[in-house]
């Protein structure tokens, strides 16, 4: 057995605090009452089982008691085992008996510290402190604790307090780089009713849905003139779709000022979205076929998920920006230069073969299913050429259409790893170009099934702190995927990337 190599000390980083078992704080006993309220159904079942025990055979009674106490036990677990400690570097949280959870959250990664007071808290003067780091699941809930302890937690853990206490900024820190870019006030978009036709035209999916609604509505009107009750929901759907498109034109405005981006939209209900540029994780540029015909593109920015699901959204900056406008705006949003479209690389050509083989495989499966489905009516009504024709058409046409879409998609797929950004373009009819600054990378994932591995290709996903921006490349050569991953993982800094 070889001796473990000693850990190499890195003087540029603080040494972790030694765990001498001191400094742990427990929760308030009223936590039990809080858990009783939160687990009321299981508590009720547990009490019912315990109180109604007896009068039957001993084994049954024992099982009833065990299940009853088992249902009650979780209400005391959090109070008996929950403890927390605020160290110079970490917030630590421990809880659980059967399933022990030990969480260490670095203080400098804390994004927000919220306080919640429920009915038990109001009665006993207690609070629950929720500490969030970036990402939807990065959360520690400490409570119930007395008000003074909650105040202390808030003051010690708030991002501002941590920032003040932080050591000298690390050179190349991503948050430092983008904290306050000096951007003059810039108007990005100011649209009105005259832009509505163009906005409607480029929203292909809504346009198709609305057209289908019109066809269905007219059909109902013609075929069942007396039954207007079916016609009204179609009208309502079309109105809702139309209103959705209209909010992207009438009264839509966006602007940059200082280090923030602001978007205002809505006709009846006005919504103003504002986000610091330091939270922008990436940008997406979409071009539908009509948009390409009229020379426009839709530009959106993606912000970090820093306080739960609601704070994460893709914000449309301009639905009908002039084509090529992204080259000027995206560097402002991201704080980095964008890659030259001429440097974009195609995915592996062998990908096209893989896609058509996959479609052939699908055709075989569909053929088998179609054969079975067609066989049943043939048994009942005899050989019906219409049924056979439909089965053959589905078996041939669906994979064929799917293959053609895949071919179109293949022709549009591009990727590039620039000095400061990584970009992926995809889409068959509407193309999407996703640009992610390299410093925003949170992780890289490479996947390949058996067939892809035989062909030496793989899929790659570049993860960021925004749910809406994930750079995805399909069927890159494995060597290219590895090069992208290595480049991205080597290029991050110590700023957290959020």
């Amino acid at each position: 057995m070889t001796e473990p190599e000693p850990l190499v000390a890195d003087e540029s980083r603080p040494v972790p605090q030694p765990d001498n078992g001191e400094g742990w704080q427990r929760l308030h006993p009223a936590t039990i009452a809080d858990d009783v309220l939160q687990r009321l159904p299981s508590v009720a079942v547990g009490l019912f089982l315990i109180l109604t025990g007896g009068g039957r055979d001993a084994l049954f009674e024992l099982v009833q008691l065990v299940v009853g106490f088992g249902a009650l036990a979780p209400v005391v677990v959090r109070y008996l085992t929950g403890r927390y400690r605020v160290g110079p570097e970490l917030l630590q949280w421990r809880v659980g008996v059967l399933k022990k959870v030990e969480t260490d959250m670095p203080r400098h990664r804390i994004q927000s510290v919220d306080t919640r007071i429920n009915i038990i808290g109001r009665i006993f003067g207690l609070e629950t402190v929720v500490v969030s780091s970036a990402g939807g699941e990065g959360e520690i809930t400490i409570g119930l604790v007395v008000g003074s302890a909650a105040d202390r937690l808030r003051s010690e853990l708030s991002p501002e307090a941590v920032a003040v206490a932080a050591v000298e900024p690390v050179e190349g820190d991503s948050t430092e780089v983008r904290t306050a870019p000096a951007i003059p006030e810039t108007e990005l978009a100011t649209l009105n009713a005259s832009d509505l036709p163009r906005v409607t035209l480029v929203n292909v999916s809504r346009l198709i849905t609305a057209s289908a609604g019109v066809v269905i509505g007219i059909s109902i009107r013609v075929l069942r003139p007396a039954e207007l009750v079916y016609f009204l929901p179609v009208l309502a759907t079309m109105f809702a779709l139309g209103a959705g498109v209209a909010t992207q034109a009438i009264g839509f405005s966006s602007m940059l000022y200082g280090d923030r981006i602001r978007v205002a939209r809505g006709i009846i209900t006005r919504t103003k979205f504002e986000a610091p540029l330091a939270r922008v994780q990436g940008a997406t540029i979409r071009r539908s076929i009509p948009a390409r015909r009229i020379g426009t593109e839709a530009i959106s920015v993606d912000t970090a998920d820093v306080s739960g699901k609601d704070a994460s959204k893709q914000t449309l900056v301009h639905p009908i920006a002039p084509a090529g406008q992204w080259k000027e705006w995206v560097p402002l949003f991201l704080g980095t230069p964008v890659p030259d479209p001429g440097t974009f690389r195609r995915v592996a050509p062998v990908s096209l073969r893989r896609r058509w083989i996959a479609e052939a495989r699908r055709a075989v499966v569909l053929g088998a299913m179609g054969g079975i489905v067609a066989w049943l009516p043939i048994q009942w009504v005899g050989r019906d050429y219409l049924v056979v024709g439909i089965a053959v058409a589905v078996t041939v046409l669906v994979p064929l259409a799917s293959g053609l879409v895949e071919t179109l998609s293949y022709r549009n797929e591009r990727w590039v790893l620039g000095d400061e950004t990584v970009a992926f373009r995809h889409g068959a009819f509407t193309t999407s170009l996703v640009i992610v600054p390299r410093v925003r990378t949170q992780g890289v994932l490479i996947r390949a099934n058996w067939f892809q591995r035989r062909l030496g290709i793989a899929n790659i996903s570049v993860d960021t702190a925004s749910p809406t921006v994930v750079g995805k490349g399909r069927d890159l050569y494995l060597t290219d995927a590895i090069a992208v991953a290595d480049g991205l993982l080597a290029g991050v800094d110590e700023g957290g990337g959020v």
């Binding site: 070889t2 190599e5 949170q442 994932l445 490479i446 991050v492 957290g496």
Partner: protein, 170 residues
Amino acid sequence: MWDAPGFETLPTKALLVSRVRGAFMLLIIIAVLAAADLVIRQFVEPAFPPLVLPGLIALAAFAVGWMWTHLVWRALGWRLDDRTFETRSGVYWKTWKGIPRDRVQFVEVVSGPLQRHYGLATLVVRTAGVYTPAVSVKDLVADVAERLRAELSPESPGGVLGNHATEPGL
């Protein structure tokens, strides 16, 4: 990528625990199949004796599960260097995940009763990423999981952990 050198494999205890979990699942399947067999026999009389078909299915599931758990266990691995934490997994779909150590938000070590009995634990490394918010390595030796937690916690000093996962005594 998946066959790259330097990946630590999981201890053989992890394979054992995985098979014990599979055995629990198999017991449930056998119970359901046996119950279904007995219920069906109330209405029709199949040609084969009672519980033969559930037994054969269970035997086949046992054989497939035995081999599959081995393949899954063999595919699992992790690697830590001074910049990144990497995991690999998958049999048909091979997956490699890489996380820059500077992106680690916090680290959890979770262990259930079965894992604790065998001295194992699950390491969960959380980032701010939304697509892959957590990278976990199941059934690590508990001591290794603890050392990885200490090592991966953002304030820990950098350094390579070394080949400890498969060594006895850890």
